[in-house]
């Protein structure tokens, strides 16, 4: 096992990695920007090294700063968390070059996973279903031919995109030319790679992803799947494990497809394979691979009892998986709510600032992953995630009931958070009945909720006038 691990991230995931290091008996060295030197992870880790100014480009996104920090602080490994440099092959190759172990897959696996077209082709070659569509389309004409074949509406996606970025919905032939031109230009500007591909658009879909763990000895197992259909602008708000209501055969096929794909990639570490389930057709197809630990990993941990981040450390240190596929048993149900410093009432405007009160819930079946504390000043420089609230139960209903109570008692003052929205979401009949698809939050839940809260605000104004 490693002696000293550089935790090259911040916020709640830094806390998570530090905790895993502690559990494994490894010393943690937090790589923090100047703004984060007085953060909770900085007090929790064994040591702290400052890697630059608040601006992420100069610190958390600076490969040289992160690797040099590992050398200066005498660390034998770097854990990149999620986001930032976690899926940048440059960090992996720099680690290899300077004798530091990267806690994650190889640079090649990251590159292959990051190229969405290549990943799609790999899936197809393994007979893993892919969305009807194409590989690279270079012209509007080529795109039109594919779109005619699969039927409109279609999605135009960037090969170097992913996570919802670089995607465009094209409702019909008339919009295609402009879409190809604009999407290509945007992709080139944003990712330095203007390649596009076309995919059939599924109206009623569920986002189902499978957690995979693989060691250096070729052992690849899945830890079941998650449903992450609660999305707004392709950003996940809520996640569940397992994906309830999936036909058993479909569930089996999805899990198996994930393992097949990861094995073929020679993947080592923790990774996730994302699929789209066509609710009407009861079919599934491969979307993309995420070559890092994910934000929503706790729901899988809660239903399997497996510590995914500790397994990452063990795998990276060269240990073999201590369990096989048959040892992986999913019990009960878990649901996670992302608590962001955003105001859903004001169109999710960011709301950084000083927390005068921070009082998360606790108790059996309630887990809170956070870096916040009363008196913490949420900085405006980074993303808005404050905490993840994960609730579990023997059944999905129990998990939801527990979540409703936990959300009620979660107090945050004075900044706005997405708690208000989650409190309504967890009680919604569509959620209870398991009718949520990827369009649900934006098309069904949010407009009605916004209207209701606006009405309530008016009523309050009138009453106090």
């Amino acid at each position: 096992m490693f002696e000293r691990v550089l935790v090259a991230n911040r916020g709640e995931i830094a806390m998570r990695v530090i905790r895993a290091c502690f559990d494994e008996g490894v010393r943690s060295v937090l790589a923090a920007s100047e703004t984060d030197l007085d953060s909770l992870p900085a007090t929790a880790s064994d040591e702290v090294i400052c890697i630059g100014p608040a601006n992420a480009a100069a610190s958390y996104l600076n490969v040289g700063a992160v690797v040099a920090a590992a050398l200066l602080a005498d660390c034998d490994a770097i854990h990149p968390g999620y986001g930032f440099l976690s899926e940048r092959p440059e960090l992996v190759t720099a680690c290899e070059r300077h004798g530091v172990t990267f806690v994650g897959p190889s640079a090649e696996a990251i590159r292959r996973g990051g190229d969405k077209i290549e990943a799609r082709e790999l899936a197809r070659s393994l007979d893993v279903p892919v969305g009807a569509g194409s590989s690279t389309v270079s012209t509007a004409q080529a795109a039109a031919e594919v779109a005619e074949g699969v039927g409109y509406p279609v999605l135009l996606k960037a090969a170097a995109g992913g996570g919802g970025r670089g995607m465009r919905l094209v409702p019909g032939r008339e919009r295609l030319e402009a879409a190809v031109r604009d999407a290509g230009r945007e992709a080139e500007a944003a990712f330095g790679d203007g390649r596009l591909y076309v995919e059939h658009y599924v109206e009623r879909a569920r986002h189902v992803e499978v957690q995979v763990l693989a060691d250096r000895f070729g052992q690849t197992v899945h830890l079941g799947e998650r449903d992450c259909s609660y999305q707004r602008r392709y950003q996940k708000l809520v996640e569940e494990a397992p994906a309830s209501g999936l036909p058993a055969e479909l569930q089996r096929q999805i899990r198996e497809a994930a393992v097949t794909l990861m094995r073929a990639m020679g993947y080592v570490g923790a990774g996730t394979v994302e699929f789209l389930v066509d609710v009407e057709q009861e079919t599934f197809f491969f979307l993309e691979v995420n070559t890092r630990v994910q934000v929503e990993h706790p729901v899988t941990e809660m239903v399997t009892g497996i510590d995914i981040v500790r397994e990452q450390l063990r795998i990276a240190a060269g240990q073999s998986l201590s369990f096989g596929q048959d040892d992986v048993v999913l019990r009960g149900h878990a649901i996670e709510f992302r608590i962001n410093a955003e105001s859903p009432e004001r169109d999710f405007a960011p709301s950084p600032g000083l927390l005068t009160a921070w009082s998360p819930p606790a108790g059996s079946g309630v887990r809170v992953d956070t870096h916040c504390f009363p008196g913490y000043r949420v900085p405006p420089n980074y993303d808005s995630l404050l905490a993840k609230l994960i609730c579990g139960g023997a059944t999905r209903e129990e998990a939801l009931d527990r979540a409703a109570c936990a959300l009620e008692s979660f107090q945050v003052t004075p900044i706005d958070t997405t708690l208000s929205m989650h409190r309504a979401l967890v009680r919604h009949p569509d959620v209870r009945e398991g009718r949520v698809t990827t369009r649900w939050v934006e098309d069904v839940f949010f407009p009605a909720w916004k209207r209701r809260t606006a009405e309530q605000a008016i009523v309050r104004q009138v009453m106090t006038a």
Partner: protein, 166 residues
Amino acid sequence: MAGERAEFRRVFRAFEESDWDEIHLSLDGVELHLQAAASSEVTESSDVYGPSAASQVLTPGSVPPAADATTAKAESTSTPVGNTADADVVRAPSPGIFWRSPSPGAPPFTDVGVQVEVGTPLCIVEVMKLMNTVPAPCEGTVVEVCVANGQQVDAGQALFLIRPGE
């Protein structure tokens, strides 16, 4: 102490062998700042120092030197032009990071002496990765840029002074 020197040597060597631009590390009260020279020959330069007196043009996403915010402000903000007594103050709508240009390397939205109209974009205040463009609230001439590029601002902080009128 020998151990520390060994680690510093490893860092210098790694920096030399790589194509890294700039790193600024701080560990146990020791600061290490390495910056690749602009010329094709990569020379190593290291100094142990406190707040830097150097300022540099910063743009969104660029790697800024570890400059002390107040020093950078004194050096990079413009000198007020003309009479600022009757000027309108444009304030930050939220806390965030002040950017003078729409994107890295692009020319700034505006500058001292520029004529603006109601709605003319003046700057971006970035909050949690959201880029908010701040528009001019009135017609007039920009007479002062109050904040340095890349500086963190509080809600309500003065960003520009605009003298209304033609």
